[in-house]
Point group: C2
Chain length 430, copies 2
Amino acid sequence: MVDIATRVWNHKWKIDPIVRSLIDNDFYKLLMCQSIYRNRPDATVTFSLINRSKDIRLANLIDEGELREQLDHIRSLSLSRGEGTFLRGNTFYGKRQMFRHDFMEWFENLRLPDYHLEKRDGQYELTFEGKWHEVMLWEIPALAVLMELRGRAVLDDMRKFELQVLYARAMTKLWEKIERLRDVPNLRIADFGTRRRHSYLWQDWCVQAMVEGLGDKFVGTSNCLIAMKRDLEAIGTNAHELPMVFSALAESDDELRQAPYKVLADWHEEHEGNLRIILPDTYGTKGFLRGAPDWLAGWTGVRIDSGDPATGAENAIQWWKERGEDPTQKLIIFSDGLDVDKITELHSQFDGRAKISFGWGTLLTNDFRGLTKDNALEPFSLVCKAVKANGTPTVKLSDNPNKAMGPQDQIDRYKRVFGVGQQDKMDVIV
Amino acid sequence: MVDIATRVWNHKWKIDPIVRSLIDNDFYKLLMCQSIYRNRPDATVTFSLINRSKDIRLANLIDEGELREQLDHIRSLSLSRGEGTFLRGNTFYGKRQMFRHDFMEWFENLRLPDYHLEKRDGQYELTFEGKWHEVMLWEIPALAVLMELRGRAVLDDMRKFELQVLYARAMTKLWEKIERLRDVPNLRIADFGTRRRHSYLWQDWCVQAMVEGLGDKFVGTSNCLIAMKRDLEAIGTNAHELPMVFSALAESDDELRQAPYKVLADWHEEHEGNLRIILPDTYGTKGFLRGAPDWLAGWTGVRIDSGDPATGAENAIQWWKERGEDPTQKLIIFSDGLDVDKITELHSQFDGRAKISFGWGTLLTNDFRGLTKDNALEPFSLVCKAVKANGTPTVKLSDNPNKAMGPQDQIDRYKRVFGVGQQDKMDVIV
C-alpha cells in the first residue's frame, strides 16, 4: 500500500532541502553562540568558505541556483517548539539548563542572516558577515550543503540499483570499521562528522549503526538534531573561532598574547566538567601550554586537532605532570583526520595513561573513497572560518602549517607574539 | 508519515507467508503441468524432498510448526484473476495462448493437494502423493519454503543494522558479479534461481538488479510471478521429471528404452521454437543422443544440467554435426551449478560455435557464502523429486553419479538398458 499523501507530499517540494532544522548543527556551535551572545554581542565577524582542495572545482560541480535555493531554505528555518524544549530542558553532561533563558528567547526568534555568494576561478566565494553569534551559526550548515550538493551532482548520473549498491558498499565499509572498533577495549568514540558528511540521511544511518555496533563505546554525536531524534548525548565544547576572534579584537601585542587565555577565562565562568576542554593548538600547542595560567591545568582535558596527535597528547601529559596534575584523571580528545587505524594506534598508545576519547569526523560520515568511478565522491577539505573580526583579519597557526590561515604579515606577527618556531607540515586530507 | 493501515495490516498476519501466489513457481512447471494434464492425467506420482547436504540438519534448524504453517498457507492459495489473465493472454516465446483453455479452467480452480511431513534423523521427510499434474506443482514452493525458513532461522539472531549490512554485502557481491558479466559480449543469461533462493524478496531484488545491470543480456526469469510483476519474459522448457516418470511407467525394457524419446514426441506435438529444448542427461547424455530419432536433432537446442558442461556441449555439437545440423544455429543452455567464473569460461569456449545461453540458479539468488558467522547461510543441495510413479520407483542417472537417484537394483537395470558405462563423479555444490 502506497501512502498517497506521503507520495504527493514528497513530490510537492520544489527542492529537497539538505538542512531542515536550525539544530542540524554542531552542539558546540550553540554553546559558543551562547557564550558570544553574552560576552561579545557587538562583535562583527565575517565567516568565509575556504576550499583547501583546489582541484575540486566546486563552482563547476554545483549549480549556483541550487546552492542559493538550499541556502535560502536555511534562512527560512526557525527553531521549532520541540527543538526549543529539547535545548531548554535537556541535561547535557549532567548539567541542567545549560542554555540560559535569555539566550533561548533570542534563539527562538532567530533567522540566519544573509549570505554573499559569487563564483571565482571555478570556486564559490561564500561569505557571511554580521553579528558574530549570528553568522557563526552558518558554518556547519553551509559546509553540509556544499558537501551534499557535490555528492548529489555525482549521484545524478547513477541509476537505481547502482545507487543502492553504492550505499550497500558504503554501509559494508563502515560496518567493517565498526567491527574493528568493537574489539577495542575501553573505547570512547563520538560522531563529529556533521560538517563534511555525505548527506544528512547518511550521517543519521552512520550514527545508528554506531549505536547498534558499538553500544556503550559510542558516547554521542556532535549533531544536535540527531542527538534529539536518536536519544543520544550531544557532544562538543569549543572551537578555534573563539581564540581567533578574540585575538583579532586584541588591540596590542600584549592583549593578543593573553587573548587565548582570556577567552577560556570567560568559558571557565560559564562551564564546568566535560565542557572544560582546552583546544590548545590555535597558535601552537607548546607555547600555549607553556604560558597557560595554572587554573587551566585544572580543566578536564584537552582536544588535539592538528599536528601529530601522539606528540600533542604527549605534550599535554607532560604539561599536566609539570603542573602537578594526574594525567590519568584527564581527558584527551582526538579529533583530527581520524580513521580506524589511527584510532586504534592512538588508543593503544594512550589508553591507561589518560582518559581518551575520539571525535570521529569525515571518515565516519563521508568515506566513499573508492566506491565510484574516478573516486568522484572522495571527501575533500572544505572549511568555513571566521576570517575577520571588526574589520581585522583573523589568524590561525595550528600545529600544522598546512592548516594555517590569515594574511602573511599577520601570520608572522602571531608567530612572533606566540613564540612559534619551525613546524612540521602534514598533509590535510579532510 | 507512517501509513497506519499498512503498519497494522503488516502486523495482523499470523505468519509471514513465503509463497504468496500459485505462480510464484517456475514457468516450466506450468508448461509440463499442462502437458501431463493432457497426456498422463491418471498417473499417480510421489514427490519427495531430498537433502543431499546431510550435514545441514533441517529438522533441527526449522521449527515443524512454522514449516506446516507455510505449507498450509500454500494450500490456501488459488490463482488470482490477474494471474489467470497473465497466463492466458501473454505471449511466451512469441507464441500466443500457450496455455489452453481447458488447462486454464482446471488451473483456476486448483488448490494444491495435501502433504505428508515427519521428522527423521534430524531431517524432514516431506512427500506429496497424488495426481502427477497436481503434486508436481509442489516441488518449487516446497523447496523455496525450506530454503527461506532455514535462512530465517539464521537471521533470527541478528539485529537491525547487522541485517542491513548483511544484505548490503550480498547486494555488493551480486553487483560485482553483474559488473563482470556486463563485459561479456553476446551474453544471454536468465534467472533460474527460484527453488533455492534466499527469499522471495531477495530473488526479486536480484532479478531487478540484473535488468538494470545487464540490459538486453538478461533475457528473463524462470519465476512466473516475478516475470509478471517485472514485465519480463518467463523462461523455461522441461525437466527430468518427464522422462523419469514416463520411464517408471514403462512396462518392459524396450518400452523403458524408448520412454525418454516418447515423452519428447508428446512435447514435439505441443511445442515449437524455443520450447523444443532437449534435456539429454537423465539416463546419460551420450547414449541418449546416440539413440535419438532424427527429428530430435531438428529441435532448437539442448540444456546441459549435469556432468562436465564443456564435455556435454561438445557432445551435443558433435551430434548435431553427425546429424547434418548446423550447430551455430543451435541453442545450448547451461544450467548446472553456474557462477561467474564458469559462465565466462563456457562463454569464451562456445560463443560463436553455437548460440549459448545461461540459466543461473542458486549462486544468483542465494550466494550468501562468507557473509555470516560460521557461513550459516551457505547454500546447500536440496531437491524435491518424483520418486515414484504408479507405485514404481523412478530412477535418475544423469551425467554425474553424485546426482543419481533410485533403488540400486533399478539404477543397475537402467544403466544396462541405456548402456551407461563408467561416469565421472563431480561434487554437487548446489
